[in-house]
Amino acid sequence: MSRLLVSPSPHIHAKESTASLMRDVVIALIPAVLVSVVFYGWKELLVLAVSVLSCLVLEYVITRYMMKKENNTLCDFSAAVTGILLALNLPYTTPWWVVFIGAAVAIGVGKMTFGGLGQNVFNPALVGRVFLLVSYPTYMTHWEAPQSLFGVDAVSGPTPLGIIKEGLLQGNTVPQLMADNGLNYGQMLFASVGGSAGEISAIALLIGFVYLLVKKVIRPHITLSIWATVAVVSLIFWLCAPDRFTDPLFNLLTGGMILGSCFMATDYVTSPMSVKGGIIFGIGIGFITMMIRYFGSYPEGMSFAILIMNATVPLLNMWFHQKKYGRA
């Protein structure tokens, strides 16, 4: 008789692995990727390809040759997720070399300087995006009429949030700006205009989000607390001064709100472990986003808000723990 394997219990393991969870995130992003490619055409495809490939190559090179790890994390899809998220956070017009710099910052600075997967404090894709936003503002806010793959007529122009911010500075009112620029919610929900690729269709992103919930990859508490906070804060301001402040629905559907709240704020590594911590994290993101949108100099605040709250995660993890059995 062959020798029997003797090891401690448990003797079986769930099917989920890091790779399968990350693969599910990639799958969840497919609808948004498809919609953005259909609307923005081959240029968007190029941004996506450059971003994902750069992330994968950089991840491999850094883990293999600089960190000298045998077991590199290339096959776990985490770099691919970062690549897709970064691409969806950029305008389709971004030149390939700017995309590459973004990817290099995301993986090199955002992820690897902290020690790689699981160690990073900030969401790598957002680190890359914000770096580009600050360093190459022209490319990040430059818009061209999109050439759609299937000839769908897409309108060129700044993002809805940008239109409002600009318009308000020139002394216009919100309702007037919405009407003048043809901004409506149906458009934002299904296929919006302007902005980064990931802002294009809230529905496509929400389909992916539901997929992640159904597959139990993530829990909804962070996303829901962001939405609730954004809704409440904007409702208060909008009710007080509808001319100066945008309404809740507008704020929920624009400026990467869906992409950020569903896919970036819910990143395992950079969000709190406990539900209580996660809810506070979400409230913080929602609040900071609205403060930046209403009073800051950037039209949208999601990226900054998430990064700021990322920094509080170690504290939130220290303060908030889940309830233990038989203890107060």
Partner: protein, 455 residues
């Protein structure tokens, strides 16, 4: 919503492939090896000498302390040796070796199938029979039952819970017992209930065993007509979720109460006994039959024949395996018990114990552990922990040797259910790391208590 415990838990695939196999009697082996330490507490002391003739059911070892138990011969024959022998894990244990001759039972043991529903009123006599019958908890802990049924003064039992969850994948012996010996289990339950002096007893069964739930309900309905002693016993259907049958989880599910850290079930008014124990109580009290056999599930996708066997205590494992068609070539691991908490067997020549509930055969593929990756802070281990602990944190603290922080984060509450390790997508061997840390912290707590008592 079916009831269940309030936090954590996992849903491994059921894999109860032997659920259709009725309990069959395994032929008596030529030799049995009966271990002197089959229970929690002091090992028993032999009452026989080499060369003695023994009968089935004859006490061959007496309790070696207050928390200890009688051990009986499971066969008739001659004591061949009393010597150390390797147990399941490969450690030496004192065993009484008996060569089987015929099948002669002790006088006074009722071997018929007749159901006896009359329960005597003398609780002291009942407890004595349970003690003399060598009954121990068969749900895993093998704690002497008569001790558990004598709550310390000042503690009042409010609810007897009979654990029929069998929440571990693959195991079906309790399920078959409920189906085939439901009457005996219910009578056993009524006996325990009477001894404890409680009004209420709940038989908790997971809802993946609807046949068992229906059958026990029928049995209860007919027995209630026989005697008022069967009033107050109820079946509760519980959600299929591991570890529903964990003592603390079951109390939470059935009563909505949680046992404080370091406390006992009786502190919240609960006593938990397992289905097989209730049957053993019935046998000991109504039939004068001590524990000489128990049902064992033999299963695994790679195993040639699935079975639930009635096995004499002390039967060599290899004898069971040969009876069912031999060791499959692709079996890499044999487990005594279920896949979540069972123990890997190192030695197939070892013999069964009273508490042996299953032999599970897994292939290399089924039991493979993938290489460990970095923690991705997904929190799945904490979501899975039925004690509400944070295994990722305990893992980190244990590796850093931070004993005080481990205690602050309640590592001592870990019930070693394995949910964390089972769930971790990064394949971090969480429980492997937490287990020794828990031992260390419990040792510290004990030492501190001892030092305080000495003052």
């Amino acid at each position: 919503m079916t009831r269940t415990f309030s936090m954590g838990g996992v849903h491994p695939s059921d894999s109860k492939i032997s659920r259709g196999c009725a309990i069959e009697v395994l032929p008596t082996p030529p030799t049995v090896y009966i271990q002197l330490s089959q229970h929690i507490g002091a090992p028993a002391k032999p009452l026989v000498a080499v060369g003695d003739s023994v009968k089935v059911g004859q006490p061959i070892a007496e309790p070696g302390g207050f928390v200890s138990a009688y051990i009986h011969s499971s066969v008739s024959g001659k004591v061949k040796s009393i010597a150390p022998r390797k147990d399941l894990a490969g450690n030496n244990q004192m065993c009484i070796e008996i060569t089987v001759e015929g099948d002669e039972w002790m006088e006074g043991i009722d071997t018929s199938d007749t159901l006896i529903t009359d329960i005597i009123d003398d609780n002291k006599a009942i407890l004595d029979k349970i003690r003399l019958g060598g009954v121990v908890g068969l749900g895993g802990a093998t704690f002497p039952t008569h001790v558990k049924l004598s709550p310390p003064p000042g503690k009042k039992c409010e609810m007897l819970i009979i654990n029929g969850c069998e929440c571990e994948p693959y195991l079906t012996s309790d399920f078959r017992t409920l189906l085939e010996k439901g009457e005996q289990v219910v009578v056993g339950t009524a006996i325990i209930k009477q001894v404890l002096g409680v009004d209420k007893a709940t038989i908790g069964i997971e809802d993946n065993k609807p046949e068992a739930i229906a059958h026990i309900n029928e049995v209860l309905a007919s027995l209630r007509k026989v005697s008022p002693k069967f009033e107050g016993i109820e079946v509760m259907s519980l959600m299929k979720k591991y570890p529903e049958g964990g003592e603390k989880q079951l109390i939470d599910a059935v009563m909505g109460r949680q046992v404080a850290s370091g406390g006992l079930p009786i502190d919240v008014g609960a006593v938990v006994q397992n289905v097989a124990t209730a049957l053993a109580v019935y046998d000991a009290v109504q039939k004068n039959k001590p524990i000489i056999d128990n049902s064992v599930t033999v299963t695994g996708e790679c195993f040639p024949r699935q079975a639930n066997l009635l096995v004499r205590v002390g039967t060599p494992l290899s004898y069971i395996v040969d009876y069912l068609g031999g060791m499959p070539a692709d079996a890499a691991k044999v487990i005594s018990g279920g896949p979540m908490m069972g123990r890997a067997i190192a030695n197939m020549d070892a013999a069964t114990l009273k508490g042996t509930s299953a032999l599970l055969f897994l292939t290399e593929k089924q039991t493979r552990r993938e290489p460990e990756g970095p923690c991705i802070r997904c929190g799945k281990c904490a979501q899975a922990c039925p004690m509400g602990l944070e295994p990722f944190l305990l893992n980190r603290l244990a590796r850093a040797g931070k004993v005080e922080e481990l205690e602050d984060n309640a590592v001592q509450d870990c019930i070693e259910c394995g949910c964390c390790l089972y769930s971790c997508p990064a394949h971090i061997p969480l429980l492997d790391i937490i287990r020794p840390a828990k031992g260390q912290v419990i040792g510290l707590i004990r030492a501190r208590k001892a030092a305080q008592a000495a003052k």
